[in-house]
Amino acid sequence: MQALYCKYRLLTSFLALAALLILIQSCGDDQVCEDITANDLRIGFYTAGEGGVDWTVVDSLKAGTPDRPGQFIYDRIYSVSSLELPLNPSGDISRFVLDFFTTADTLTVSYTREKHLLSVECGFTMFFEINEVSHTTNLIHSISVPVEYVTNNLDEHFKVYITDTDNSEK
């Protein structure tokens, strides 16, 4: 009797886990491709002064690339504390113009590309490893790169330090 009861438990557990497997696998396909293929370069704006590093807001901004004049990634946005810029998946360098209206800076990013298969449904996306960044210094003072891998994580890759005009005037 004990043996039969043991067998019954084992069989029940087998069937229960089979059902669980089907449930888990059917849930696995429920993905949103747009979210997981979003691998833009994420930038935050900061000021560096005597009091340390502070998060800051740029009054207004236009962003585009000199390679595609007349097309804008952002066409006049206001009170900007962070920015997402798409890196060119077909080249190893992307150039951006950040137009702050009173002045503008050019940002040049070079990187290594890696194709990554996300899933059957979502297909491939491009991940990037930043090699070098250079910029003009009209409003941008300096740039640090805390995260050099641009993937579909929501990391901030660049800290862009804006020239502290108040301190400069002093």
Binding site: Q2, A3, K7, L17, A18, L21, L117, G123
Partner: protein
């Protein structure tokens, strides 16, 4: 967590049944040939990925089993935005320990702790890749065939129950830790044969087996 709780409950009840059992069975070495049905079952849900796996175990000491597992992997993904193909083989070697111990009568049910070393080799390629980009324009390319190898360790818990004389069914939950893989491949594989999805260095997979035991007497 509920899965772990369930497994723990099974182990406790199985162990308690041993306390009631009398040690009246005689140890007979036996070879068991198994087929992993989770591969074909997975193909019903994910038709792009097919795996076939056979296992061989031998009870070299009472309640200790030497185990060999081998299988093949085939991935064929054809979508509007990409084509990906992979062919590979995988092997595992290790041991199982039966927690249930000797059982009364003719019962041959097993509650197993498993340890394995695994190795996988595969060729994969992506003849067509389209990465849409609304600003820069779509990127079209391909990736030529590339070899990929991986080594891993795994540990698991499982059950086998004797449905009919010498015919077993069972399941096993395996946790895997990748030890090494091909360094800096041009493309990470979608699925490592015998290991699972290659998103990170660990994987957890459930296997279902049908096995036939060949008694040596």
């Amino acid at each position: 967590m509920s899965i772990l709780r369930y497994i723990l409950l099974i182990l406790i009840t199985a162990k308690s049944s041993v306390l009631f059992a009398q040690n009246d069975t005689i140890y007979h070495p036996a070879l068991r040939i198994g087929f992993d049905v989770s591969g074909p079952a997975r193909q019903l849900v994910e038709p792009e990925t097919s795996t076939m796996e056979l296992s061989l175990d031998y009870e070299w000491m009472e309640n200790f089993f030497a185990v060999l597992e081998a299988g093949i992997l085939n991935v064929q993904i054809e979508k509007e935005s990409h084509i990906y193909q992979a062919d590979g083989k995988f092997f595992r070697a290790g041991a199982d320990f039966n927690l249930l111990g000797p059982q009364p009568g003719s019962l041959n049910d097993l509650v197993l702790i498993s340890l394995r070393y695994g190795f996988s080799t595969m060729d994969h390629k992506a003849p067509y890749i389209l990465i849409p980009d609304p600003f820069w324009g779509d990127h079209r390319s391909s990736l030529s065939p590339e070899k990929f190898r991986a080594h891993w360790l795994e540990a698991g818990l499982g059950l086998k129950t004797e449905l009919f004389r010498n015919l077993f069914i069972g399941w096993g939950l395996r946790g895997r830790l990748l030890l090494s893989k091909t360094r800096e491949p041009e493309m990470e594989p979608y699925f490592i044969g015998g290991f699972g999805k290659s998103n990170n260095n660990t994987s957890l997979m459930l296997h279902y087996h049908i096995a036939y035991r060949i008694p040596f007497r």
